[in-house]
Amino acid sequence: MEILGLWLAGFFTLSLFSFLYKDNPFYGLAEHVFAGLSAGYEVGLVYHSVILQQLVDPISQHWVNATAGDHPGFHIMKIGFLLFAGALGVLMFTRFFPKASWISRYPLAFVMGNTAGIYLMSELHGRLIPQIAGTFVNLLNPLNLIIFFGVLTTLIYFYFSKEHTGLLGGTARVGIWFIMIAFGAHFGYTVMGRISLLIGQVQFILIDWLKLIKPG
């Protein structure tokens, strides 16, 4: 079974690479198999890890506890919360029926409210404040000086309430240089990332599949 899996993976890898020469039925087959498998796998996984584990199982457990007389009020309340959340989830499916699709806005409102509440705090305390604090550095160190001026000039570049002329314009131009250097770093890392993915697949073909090379 493992050998079959290995050969299938090898076949689909080559099928996908064949697109580099030109579009062909092997590439189409690999693409469609991937899309179908991904969708099926994800549905099964979410059904087990969310619907069963986080809705059906807890409801049954609380029901067992409630009927056994162990703080029944608490367990009934928990069941109520779970059923409410489950019902909100079901309401999302009203989007498939044009006349009732407006109902789906209610569960979406819950999601948006929750998300906004969680992210408001986490973005403020987890990103904005610590990142600003990260620029309060010892300016006698030349590297810290680069960080300080990099942040300052880049922020000035994004200040659009005044025309970029004179000192403001000059500082903004320095900001552009910092931005360009950052783009260059991102581009370099992106090339590295893409090449790494190719190396990974070539390693799979030569080492795992065809066993032409022995690692180590």
């Binding site: 969680i118 986490s122 790494s196």
Partner: protein
């Protein structure tokens, strides 16, 4: 048609072939190019080395199979260090496609290598949807988020999970990710629960996360296959990432050559067009 004209109109399939050869050749004939270790990788390694024996660490498998070339070597190298140091490892994933199976396979292989027992030395929590709720909820109770592990065993039945109730009992979080989940680990778990953490990320993401190291929100960072290779060197277990680095270097040299040739061809052909009127 002149030479530079031909260069600027070169069929891209020749470039693909050249890149393929640049990647394949060093795998067949290793060149063992020298590789340095960045301070960020060393800091991450030393943070884990400094943990007392039997500390509990969390290792995440937040990546898809498409990026295993960069990320899986990081997980493996991290597990070499963690199991060698006799740390207790809790793993989880927020990635539905492939995350659970990569975590399962990697943990089984590494546990077998170090003779570790499931439930005692390590636990695989598996996948759970909605990562924001997962990261936040584990701060109060891991069991409320993961009533059972990857294999359906209730957490109450796993000896390691008897002592680990939430982040308070976890000493360090090592995130291996190929997506923006690292932001959430930082902004939710580090900021709200003050958990020390480090990350191994794909090269595409790495530049963004250096700012977290600089702001001391992360202890260290591994960027792409290079970061994975550095960690393999630090734990003294050379493997797939180090093998791939020769190919990486050759491909980069080739791409630099292409960038220079492309630009020269552009300027030469433009000059010719201008002189022709």
């Amino acid at each position: 048609m002149g030479f530079w004209q031909r260069v600027s109109q070169l069929d891209r399939r020749w470039i693909y072939l050249a890149v393929a050869l640049a990647v394949i050749f060093p795998l067949l004939v290793p060149m063992k190019m020298k590789l340095g270790i960045t301070p960020e990788a060393r800091q991450l390694y030393e943070a884990i080395e400094a943990l007392p024996d039997s500390s509990v660490v969390m290792l995440t498998f937040d990546y898809y199979p498409s990026t295993v070339a960069e990320t899986r070597p990081m997980s493996i190298a991290a597990l070499h260090q963690m199991f060698r140091k006799n740390l207790k490892v809790i793993t989880m994933t927020t990635i539905p496609l492939g995350g659970p199976s990569i975590a399962d396979r990697t943990m089984r292989e590494m546990a077998e290598l170090y003779h570790k027992t499931y439930g005692v030395d390590y636990v695989n929590l598996g996948f759970k949807a909605n990562y924001t709720a997962v990261l936040l909820g584990m701060g109060s109770s891991i069991e409320s988020i993961y009533p059972s592990d990857q294999y359906g065993t209730p957490l109450a039945k796993l000896p390691l999970m008897q002592t680990v109730k939430n982040y308070d009992q976890i000493s360090f979080i090592f995130i291996v990710a190929d997506n923006g989940i690292v932001d959430n680990w930082i902004s939710i778990v580090n900021a709200q629960f003050s958990k020390p953490m480090g990350a191994g990320v794909t090269a595409v993401m790495a530049p963004k996360f250096y700012s977290y190291v600089q702001a001391k929100q992360m202890t260290g960072l591994l960027g792409g296959m290079k970061g994975a290779a550095e960690y393999e060197m630090l734990v003294n277990k050379p493997a797939m990432a180090l093998i791939g680095m020769d190919s990486q270097s050759m491909a980069h040299l080739l791409i630099i050559g292409f960038v220079i040739a492309g630009n020269v061809a552009y300027f030469m052909t433009r000059k010719k067009k201008e002189s022709n009127g």
